[in-house]
């Protein structure tokens, strides 16, 4: 027994040591990518392409660009899976640069980028493709890219913990804007970059990146909202326009137990969050009686009492399991649902609901996911400019379209609507943003929003709030939403 144990431990040690050795051998290569002279790839790609390759990889590099004019993107099939092999060449293509560009004047820079891991998938690397294009377009730089994956949700807290060690360019969800600016983690945009933000985006999207001082701090790259997925066998396209029609025909899961969604009825009935543009703290959050709060609460209670309503969150699994025929969720669920439901899957913007004879639209709190520049990049001369240029490049129409083609991320650019017109998911998202959405405020005071609203939704769902007490509870929630203290 003891011998076995000893042997086991020794074996473990050996494995550990060899793992160690293996990593050590690899480390120099990883480290060498930081040296300005080496190829600007981030992953030490096994096949260092020889100089003769550029001609071969050239067409491949322009491949995403070529696909742009064709507006008939295969929207139904998940684009990311349809072209795994072909999308590799662009990655290696960018290693051609040192050979082509022995430009001694080129400014050597090391730029760290944080994007979600999906943008850097090995076989479908949007980020590196974009970097290759950017390198080609900017021979004045000799950039060593360090790409790391940090999701949009994590970015803010990681930047705030240590701004100067954070990425120079990173993607984040717009509700973190205020916090990031206060922490000194986000550079203000001006001049041609400001023009780009203003020209490329709808007013709604511009508002999502506007701080209380009226300035814009980031480039929106995609919408962030939620909408309706349904089973076409149960509902018709006509049915899904109204929630009340839907519940006469099949089961619907309404998302009222998560803070992000639970306010949808209040917002629909006229509730506001920090004013129209979502950045006026003095107005506060208005979910009270004079903003239709009672009606919304009444409708929620009424719905929960209906046997065709399941009160939950964004439970896509319920739709897959067939327990309900419609759920609400965001574009990230599209691939999963399509895989399971196939042609039966329908997508639509948020439906209307009727209360006291009046019809309102369910309204989603929506925002954007955007790319921003860390001002600490300015501590190296010329770096902040390059970073801002690259951030603007990532938010450009071409880049957004390439991202849509590779990952299915729906572009925020207002001119790209026609390009995604055949994609029901994209249209549902865009219609929701345009017709039934309010801005997810980036004010720090937004922190007060989540708990009261989520709790209200949960209390309705479990029957603690009912027809008898809802008026008091709405008042109480409204008070909490506007209570003193940050």
């Amino acid at each position: 027994m003891k011998k076995i144990l000893a042997l086991l431990l020794v074996a473990l040690m050996i494995v550990g040591m060899t793992a160690c050795g293996g990593a050590d051998k690899k480390d120099p290569t990883t480290a060498s990518t930081e040296a300005p002279t080496t190829a600007p790839t981030t992953k030490p790609s096994e096949s260092q392409p020889s100089e003769s390759q550029p001609s071969e990889s050239q067409p491949a590099e322009s491949q995403p660009a070529e696909s742009q004019p064709s507006e008939s993107q295969p929207a139904e099939s998940q684009p990311s899976e349809s072209q795994p092999a072909e999308s590799l060449p662009p990655v290696s293509a960018n290693t051609e640069k040192p050979a082509k560009n022995p430009n001694a004047d080129a400014l050597p820079l090391t730029i760290k980028v944080w994007t979600p891991a999906e943008d850097q998938a090995v076989d479908n690397n949007w980020l590196e493709t974009m970097q290759a294009q950017f390198d080609a377009a900017h021979p004045e730089y000799n950039i060593t890219w360090i790409n790391e994956s940090v999701s949009e949700g994590d970015a803010a807290s990681m930047v705030t913990t240590d701004v100067s060690a954070a990425a120079d360019i990173y993607m984040f969800a717009n509700d973190q804007l205020g916090g990031l600016i206060t922490a000194g983690g986000l550079a203000k945009q001006g001049g041609i970059y400001l023009d780009q933000i203003k020209n490329d985006n709808s007013q709604f999207m511009i508002n999502t990146v506007t701080h209380t001082d009226g300035a814009q701090y980031a480039f929106p790259v995609t919408n962030n909202t939620w909408f309706l997925y349904y089973n076409k066998d149960v509902f018709t396209e006509e049915d899904v326009k109204s929630l009340d029609t839907m519940i006469t025909k099949g089961k619907v899961c309404i998302p009222i137990t998560t803070g992000w969604n639970a306010g949808c009825f209040f917002l629909g009935c006229g509730g506001t969050i920090f004013g129209e543009a979502g950045n006026d703290a003095s107005v506060g959050i208005q979910f009270g009686e004079d903003h239709g709060g009672y009606k919304a609460a009444k409708k929620m209670i009424e719905l929960v009492g209906n046997s065709n309503i399941v009160a939950g969150g964004m439970d896509t699994g319920r739709l897959i399991e067939g327990e309900v025929a419609a759920v609400f969720s965001g574009s990230w669920s599209a691939a999963e649902l399509r895989e399971n439901l196939g042609d039966k899957l329908g997508v639509a913007a948020l439906p209307t609901f009727t209360v006291d004879g009046e019809t309102y639209n369910m309204t989603a709190m929506s925002g954007s996911k955007c790319v921003g520049v860390n001002p600490t990049s300015g501590s190296v001369k010329g770096k902040q400019k390059a970073c801002t240029q690259f951030a603007a490049f990532l938010a450009s129409a071409d880049a957004q379209l390439a991202r849509y083609a590779m990952r299915g991320v729906i572009p925020a650019h207002k001119d790209l609507i026609s390009a995604v017109a055949n994609d029901p998911v994209a249209m549902a998202e865009i219609n929701t943003i345009n017709n039934s959405a309010v801005i997810q405020s980036a004010l720090p005071q937004m922190g007060k929003y989540w708990s009261p609203v989520e709790n209200f939704g949960k209390s309705v769902a479990n029957g603690e709030i009912n027809m008898g007490n809802y008026m008091d509870m709405v008042d109480q929630m409204n008070n909490q939403l506007n209570a003193e203290g940050l």
Partner: protein
């Protein structure tokens, strides 16, 4: 008179024999005095070249880092010397950030000022380096004195090799302690000091310009006042979290102990079959990493999870239970799940002790006609409590800081609706999870977190002082000398 003389004599004698710093300075002579300035000089004079050179190298190194700007204030890239870092400590930096519009490049460039956080950190680090240097300096003077007086007395001066050999014998404690001690000081004590300092600043997220995240100041006990002042929302929040923390620790500890003992006794019954199997099954919760087992339980018991759904489908409940989204449910739930985690530990502890209880006690009880329950209440339990008091105390303090169970199961939720403060906490948040959330969220409140940490320390210190002082093992320890 003569009495006094002998006393003075005695002191002098003791000074001569000892190698304390004062003795060294009084009796050392010029070589030792010089080695106060040039560390290691005494050793070199006495022939200990390597040791002397090592002391000298330490001195050179110290003055190098104190006088050379090697650590850089990150965004502004201003290098500071060690002395400068310490000098900046009282003000925590005055230069604030500025913004310049660069017309050519279309960018807003930031002119970076000081970062208080770095000043505090490096200030604390360099103060610690100074303290460490003083300790080494003292050691070097003494060592030089010792070597010189040995040489004077004609005794053998230890060679470097001899020193090394001594490290493996009579001075082995130095060899054994040096690495663990260094690691402890550098990566535990220094960070702790830094965090304690933070409690006396206004280092937290706020709307003020310039941001208190980058430029904070010393504020004395303001944060403490905020947290403990009666009437403020923050104080209300704090006391409610504290109350729950203590309640939780109480139930988690004692339920675990009693039920664990109960199960252990059942398994230990003479006629119970497959004793090993039962114990192994139970100990699976120790074997599987908590973050796996607790995360999976959290998913199983969530509102959309399998358990709630099965209870509903099989008609045990009329509406879903919502284990984790109702305050009372969540509290009961975490305590119950903690039983699942904790009982196996108790079983492990208790099994050995059960065997140690003298069998004749039971024999006597049986003759007196005591039944199983009476035997348990009158023999087993008192004996266990007697032996396991230290264990119970440790597990109580452990439960106060039981981060994993709460964080992985409920994440502190459900949110507390009644109190709206600038540092929100949920219904099941313990002090430690609250502290974690406050320092890891996107709008961090480091100063409040630090005060919570200090308070937790005080609670635990009082608890352990009271109990350890009276516990057997402490008294044993006293007897060690």
């Amino acid at each position: 008179m003569s009495n006094q003389l002998t006393k003075a004599d005695g002191i002098r004698k003791r000074l001569e024999n000892s190698n304390s710093l004062t003795a060294a300075l009084l009796n050392g002579g010029p070589a030792v005095w010089l080695s106060c300035l040039v560390m290691g000089f005494g050793n070199i004079v006495a022939g200990q070249f390597i040791k002397g050179l090592m002391f000298f190298a330490i001195e050179v190194g110290f003055f190098y880092i104190m006088g050379t700007p090697i650590f850089v204030d990150a965004p502004s890239m201003t290098p500071h010397t060690g002395i400068e870092w310490i000098q900046l400590l009282p003000s925590l930096g005055d230069r604030v950030d500025g913004e310049i519009w660069n017309e050519d490049d279309f960018i807003y460039e930031t002119v970076f000022g000081d970062r208080s956080q770095q000043i505090l950190l490096y200030g604390v680090v360099f103060i610690c380096i100074c303290l460490a240097f003083i300790v080494i300096w003292r050691a070097s003077v003494r060592s030089g004195y010792e070597a010189i007086s040995n040489r004077r007395a004609g005794k053998k001066v230890l060679s470097f090799w001899g020193d090394i050999k001594a490290l493996f014998d009579e001075k082995i404690h130095k060899l054994l302690m040096i690495l663990p001690f260094m690691a402890l000081i550098v990566f535990t004590v220094v960070p702790l000091v830094y965090m304690i300092c933070m409690a006396f600043t206004n280092y937290s997220y706020s709307d003020s310009v310039p941001s208190t995240l980058n430029h904070f100041d010393w504020v004395g006990f303001d944060t403490f006042k905020q947290l403990f002042a009666s009437g403020s929302a923050l104080a209300e929040q704090f006391w409610s979290v504290l109350a729950w923390t203590l309640t939780w620790a109480f139930f988690a500890t004692f339920l675990n102990f009693f039920l664990g003992t109960f199960v252990a006794i059942i398994i230990n019954r003479p006629t119970t079959k497959l004793k090993g199997l039962w114990r192994t099954i139970m100990s699976i919760t120790i074997a599987v990493p908590q973050f796996v087992s607790l995360l999976i339980i959290a998913k199983m018991f969530s509102d959309e999870g399998i358990i709630d759904k099965m209870l509903y489908n099989y008609g045990f409940v009329d509406e879903s239970v919502r284990f984790m989204s109702k305050p009372v449910n969540a509290k009961v739930f975490v305590i119950l799940i903690n039983l699942w985690v904790g009982i196996p530990y108790t079983i492990m502890q208790v099994t050995g002790i059960l065997k140690n209880i003298p069998a004749d006690l039971y024999e006597a009880a049986r003759i007196d006609g005591a039944n199983a329950v009476q035997q348990f209440m009158n023999i087993t339990l008192p004996y266990m409590i007697f032996v396991l008091t230290p264990y119970i105390i440790t597990s109580f303090t452990g439960n106060i800081n039981n981060f994993n169970v709460i964080f992985l199961l409920t994440g502190g939720g459900p949110p507390n609706m009644e109190v709206v403060s600038s540092a929100p906490a949920g219904h099941t948040d313990l002090l430690v999870t609250w502290l974690y959330n406050l320092s890891m969220q996107a709008q961090p409140k480091y100063n409040i977190a630090a005060v919570i940490g200090i308070f937790t320390f005080i609670v635990l210190a009082v608890l352990s002082l009271v109990t350890y002082r009276s516990s057997g093992s402490y008294k044993d320890e006293e007897g060690f000398k």
